[in-house]
């Protein structure tokens, strides 16, 4: 396993040849808020309003397959929602993880369904279970829970047994 690189500058200098790093630097280095390389996995945090273009940039760099969109709730730390995208490259045989932070006042992120249609279900799942809205999603409604369900179960301030 390679040694970890724990911030943006270290990643930019330590692995300039990595296709995702090179692609994102060539696109807009300022939109990259943070980056780390840990457990042989590259994580790049993107400024919230830029995620759609960032996805297009990694797509252009060869990362052609969206594997997954999910979220981690770091309550009570703000911004609490870390929306996470795993993107795989069939040609390069590696993956990159993009991340966008959303705070609890206005938990919303731009939808990437226009880049990868498969984000449809993934984003609906994140909306259903975390309450993060995706702007521009064609069908932003619950997917797992009933429509009249109150609350978002995977939030950390939602009890494991549910509200009684």
């Amino acid at each position: 396993m390679n040694p970890p690189l724990l911030n943006k500058d270290a990643v930019f200098q330590g692995m300039p040849d990595h296709p995702a790093v090179a692609g994102l630097r060539a696109w807009k280095p300022d939109a990259v808020v943070d980056a780390k390389f840990e457990f042989d996995e590259l994580t790049v945090t993107i400024a919230p309003q830029e995620i759609r273009d960032a996805c297009r940039a990694v797509l252009a760099a060869g990362y052609n397959f969206l594997e997954d969109v999910t979220c981690v709730d770091w309550y009570p730390v703000e911004p609490r929602f870390h929306v996470t995208y795993h993107i795989l490259s069939h040609g390069l045989k590696q993956r990159v993880r993009l991340r966008v932070l959303a705070n609890s006042m206005d938990p919303s992120v731009d939808s990437i369904t226009s880049v990868w249609p498969s984000a449809d279900f993934y984003e609906r799942e994140v909306f259903d279970l975390f309450g993060v809205r995706f702007n521009g999603h064609p069908n932003m409604r619950r997917i797992m829970m009933p429509d009249d369900w109150e609350g978002h179960p995977l939030r950390k301030d939602y009890p494991v047994e549910g509200y009684r």
Binding site: M1, E38, F39, E41, T43, N64, F65, L66, E67, D68, T70, V72, D73, T84, H86, L88, H90, K93, Q94, R95, R97, W116, P117, S118, D120, F121, Y122, E125, L129, N139, R141, R142, I143, M144, M145, P146, D147, D148, P153, L154, Y158, V160
Partner: protein
Amino acid sequence: MADFLSTPILESRPDDPSQDRTMVLNMGPQHPSTHGVLRLVLEIDGETVNKVVPDIGFLHTGIEKTCEAKFYQQVVPLTDRIDYLSPMSNNLCYCLAVEKLLGLEIPARAQWTRVLLNELTRLNSHLVWLGTHAMDIGALTVFLYTFREREEILNIFELVAGQRMMTSYFRIGGLALEPPLDFHRRVQALIKILPEKIDEYLNLLTGNPIFYNRLKGVGYISGADAIALGVTGPPLRASGVDWDLRRDMPYSSYEKFQFEVPVSTDGDVWARYLVRLKEMRESVKICQQALDGMPEGPIKANAPKVVLPDREQMKTQMESLIYHFKIVTEGFAVPAGEVYQAIESPRGEMGYYVVSDGTAKPYRVHMRNPSFATLQALQTMCQGRMLADVVAVIGSIDIVLGEIDR
């Protein structure tokens, strides 16, 4: 799980019913060919399908939330329950993810046994798929044949794990138990007869004109569409994308095995049928290689703070007793960080995203399940086809609803 009236199809109906050529049909959740509790809302024009809207969530049990309240080792039995046809794949994927966080080195024999059992799981899952898929089409006999062989695989699972379906046999750091003495012989006997059994299924189905006509050219999806819609596994390979995580991003020493990855460019239900049947033959080959080359050595990593000690040691050595007590009562801390581990499950790419905050309980466990993503391609595969083809298409993407809803 949506209210019936709020599905998007019903919202887009014209106000004047006399202008409306189409009909909305509800299929499921109680329907034998939806393989569980899948509900489809179909908009049909005569017999032609215009739109398919899947409605899921009837089996949602909140496994991801439950994981956050358990110790790392207690999550393993939960992962079986996600997909009752491939419990070993789920176990393996979760264990690999946590082992990556812990930096554990797994002994070769444990890795090879994991590969062997995973291929048996693939055979088990494909046998169930073949039986039920043929039954949906109307060939009832095949089901009885495939379940005869599946029974023996389940007996082998019972032999190693004590459980037929919910095996929970893999542990973080290795295997739960030493495989029994009979294990090698039983697996050898099974994979010796399997190739001719697969021929038998082929004879029953491939030359059957009804089966062929129901499958050929139905449910087409192009490779580009499959990638855009998140399709993985056999349906992706049947659309001409040569991608298999076992070969392209190997895990658990898959790089030491020689096998072919069957690919077809037809992209229809027939191609998916042939790809899966060829995959079964490759799985038999991998099982044989795993049996022949099974290395010697321990089945658990040398990590006393993570892996439970042997029963014998626990009764004779003080340290083992202490470690056992500590692991069972307070778990073990996993270094903070996040990993995503993907494996090739029988249905496609299965990924576990595990986030640790440095405590003994996972901060977040997310499963990327192949069926959930593949379901999105249903619309593309069914649009403009006959209603009866929907049944064939659902069978061909081999969904498991427990995995979709989690």
